[in-house]
């Protein structure tokens, strides 16, 4: 599909599985809007010419309106907007419902750079390498203000918040180099908080992963942190410690002291580490110290990767909708 008209770019490259769907909706909206805009313009043009003020031409007062006309131009636009509503909602849920089996990539935004880490351990700044043909899930958090990761060629964006994770996914369809932006205003160098996504052939991607300095996978690094920070003294694998075991935690449902049942997802685990006693558990004393400020956002993500690696297989495939 061409995206230029008389040398003008009209819309960005389609480089993800989302792009075609987004553009289809876009063309529908453009068509409906175009139709009504032109309808109004033509009617106005015809009326102001045909009924221009002339000598001997008497206006015919329009009276009190017509019920059926009012109904028509209420119901027809309403019906069309309902189509937009359902179509848009469907696409929205598609964009933010993470498919199972997606590659996990973790994103930390800070004034004014993007930090990415792959499960295999590779870290990147303002660059993200992904394979084509496989869904990639981004779990994102900010160290300071609100940011927003935006890749126009993939037609995805989502705000990146401090204090809690947000997630989105995409599946690149064409190898290439695509711009990524921060779309939420974040201060002085907001417009420099940009970078590139490199969509690569799966083989190239594997080579890229294998290349460079030897790195340890995130869950391994997280496991080390788990020992270093002393987590392992209480959270023993066999569940005999003063705290609950981490084995099988991720993706399970946890019953709190208050009786509330929570899904143990990334946010839950993060809250348990940074605000340990905010959600007391039955059978456990609220004695865990907070690790807020002691552990970086990246460290938290490694710990989470570690705890995720301890999940029971059935829960591992649980998809997450925000």
């Amino acid at each position: 599909m061409t995206n230029h008209w008389l040398g003008f770019p009209l819309f960005p490259e389609q480089a993800s599985s989302m792009a075609g769907r987004m553009d289809a909706l876009y063309f529908f909206l453009v068509a409906v809007s175009g139709f009504f805009a032109i309808l109004i313009f033509v009617l106005i043009a015809v009326f102001i010419v045909k009924y221009r003020r002339r000598d001997g031409h008497m206006p015919v007062p329009s009276g009190h309106g017509h019920m059926w006309l009012e109904l028509v131009w209420t119901v027809v636009p309403l019906a069309l907007t309902m189509v937009m509503f359902f179509w848009g909602a469907k696409l929205f849920f598609h964009i933010y419902t993470i498919p199972p089996g997606a590659i996990d990539v973790f994103v930390v935004g800070k004034q004014w750079m993007w930090k990415f880490q792959h499960p295999e351990g590779q870290r990147e700044i303002n660059e993200l390498h992904v394979p084509v043909g496989r869904p990639v899930k981004l779990t994102m958090i900010s160290e300071d203000v609100i940011h927003d990761l935006f890749v126009p060629a993939f037609r995805v964006k989502r705000d990146v918040l401090p204090g809690r994770y947000t997630a989105m996914w995409f599946e690149a369809t064409r190898p290439g180099k695509y711009r990524l932006y921060c779309a939420q205003y974040c201060g002085t160098e907001h417009s420099l908080m940009t970078g590139w996504v490199y969509a690569m052939d799966p083989v190239d991607y594997q080579n890229w992963l294998a290349g460079g300095a030897a790195t340890e996978p995130m869950h391994v690094a997280g496991g080390k942190l788990f020992q270093q920070l002393g987590c392992a003294t209480c959270h023993k694998a066999d569940n005999t410690g003063r705290g609950p075991t981490m084995v099988g935690l991720y993706g399970s449902r946890v019953t709190l002291k208050s009786g509330e049942v929570m899904l143990a997802d990334e946010d839950y685990i993060r809250d348990c580490i940074t605000k340990p006693n905010a959600r007391p558990l039955p059978n456990y004393e609220p004695i865990m110290p907070t690790f807020k400020g002691i552990i970086s956002e990246e460290g938290l993500l490694q710990l989470i990767a570690y705890i995720k690696s301890l999940a029971v297989p059935a829960a591992q495939t649980r998809s997450e909708t925000k």
Partner: protein
Amino acid sequence: MTTSEPSLPRENFLNCDYSIRSWLLTTDHKRIGLLFLVSITLFFVLGSAYAGLIRTELLTPRGDVVSPQNYNKLFTMHGLIMVFFFLIPSIPAVLGNFLIPMMIGARDVAFPRLNLASWYVFSIGGVFTIITAVSGGVDTGWTFYTPYSSIYSNTSVMTMAVGVFITGFSSIFTGLNFIVTIHKMRAQGLTWFRLPLFVWAIYATSIIMVLGTPVIAITLSLVGLERLFHIGIFDPALGGDPLLFQHLFWFYSHPAVYIMILPSMGVVSEIIACFSRNRIFGYKVVAFSSLAIAVVGFLVWGHHMFVSGQSAFAGLIFSFLSFLVAIPSAIKVFNWTATLYKGSISYDTPMLYALGFIGLFTIGGLTGLFLATMGMDVHVHDTYFVIAHFHYIMVGGAIMGFMGGMHFWWPKITGRCYPESWGKLSALVIFIGFNLTFFPQFILGYLGMPRRYHTYPAEFQVLNVMSSAGASILGVGYMLPVFYLFWSLRNGPIASANPWLAKGLEWLTPSPPPTDNFEQTPVVTEEAYAYRPEETASG
């Protein structure tokens, strides 16, 4: 323009007293309207200057005119000044103040001293804004998103927040005054369904002002507390939720968009009826659609937050309601168009502005549907598509309506007519300049250019240059009326009481009107816009 009488009427509200004191202590709604006109014109010039600098910077992809932080201050100050110190007070405080009492056959608003207080409160808020500008400006964006505004920004956030807080009370006072005035002070025989649609529009606007403004006031107070004492409810570091700020902010700031556009819709109804010599088609539907917009407009704020991390189900509800609020606007457009049908249409300056309004508002409204569509919004949110959309509403809609209204009632306000050909020329220049400025931004937005970017990739340059070129044409278009309207104050032909042969009580009294508006309190016996064919023939 029709018959000009040789002399201005004897004593009127302008010449009854020339002292400065008589202006600064006036309780006459007409004079207060003019005080607001002077104030908001100054802020419009200031806000436009910021816009000019923004467009200059964006001529090239690199940041070569101002520093990144100064650029951020430019768009922040542009937004704050244009929204809070020009658009919100523009039509209500100037034309509304001048016209509402006259349109309903009253001698003044219900609370004239409160009305004057409104202008003083506005001015104090304005002084804080000027202090902010002089002391280095603010760089938070007009949206003051936390935690950037409350913790991270090192600019004059406090003075600006205080300015906006104070100015809010001006809105509240004005809205309160109009609600009471319209309810209690209508002339004998002037039932609700005989009111001009401008009055309906201002009434709906006033409801939003009164119910929405206090929420932004308390929200900015909380941001201030957080900034000053590091205690608060928005900062995640304090256990707060930054999305709560966005909810509270948009609870006001989305309805605020309707504060800006509804009065313009009212003006356009008046102008369309007068220059097509027709009763507004579907009068009641148009009247109620204003109220519908005011009410439903309070329930759609979350459509600014589809990608913010707000729950998807909340998003669904907000998306649905946003489509609902689009319907009354569509109905208005259709009814205005139908009013032209079989009318007797003349192309005077106000009519050109009104027709321009319908066209631009149509585009602005239709592109709003893109943003209400959840899936679509994911791609265009926070891009230039949004910038283009709301400028079509606020500049193409609100300001076109304001300009149309100023031209329509200028003879009534000043007793002088402006040079018609200059009026038409400026309307045309503004229309062309506007479209050239903002239409390319729709394309830029879909291409993915994020808003609030000081520098941008080179592939966006052509469209940005077009936009900046359009802005310079637009600037010329806005300067023309300042000159010829000012010129007309002394040199324009004397206007008769009703130069357009328009309907409405304000046209029954001399131009400019006497201080008490009417020599005798009018009694209303017919509906609004009762244009008759035989009256047209003489026009």
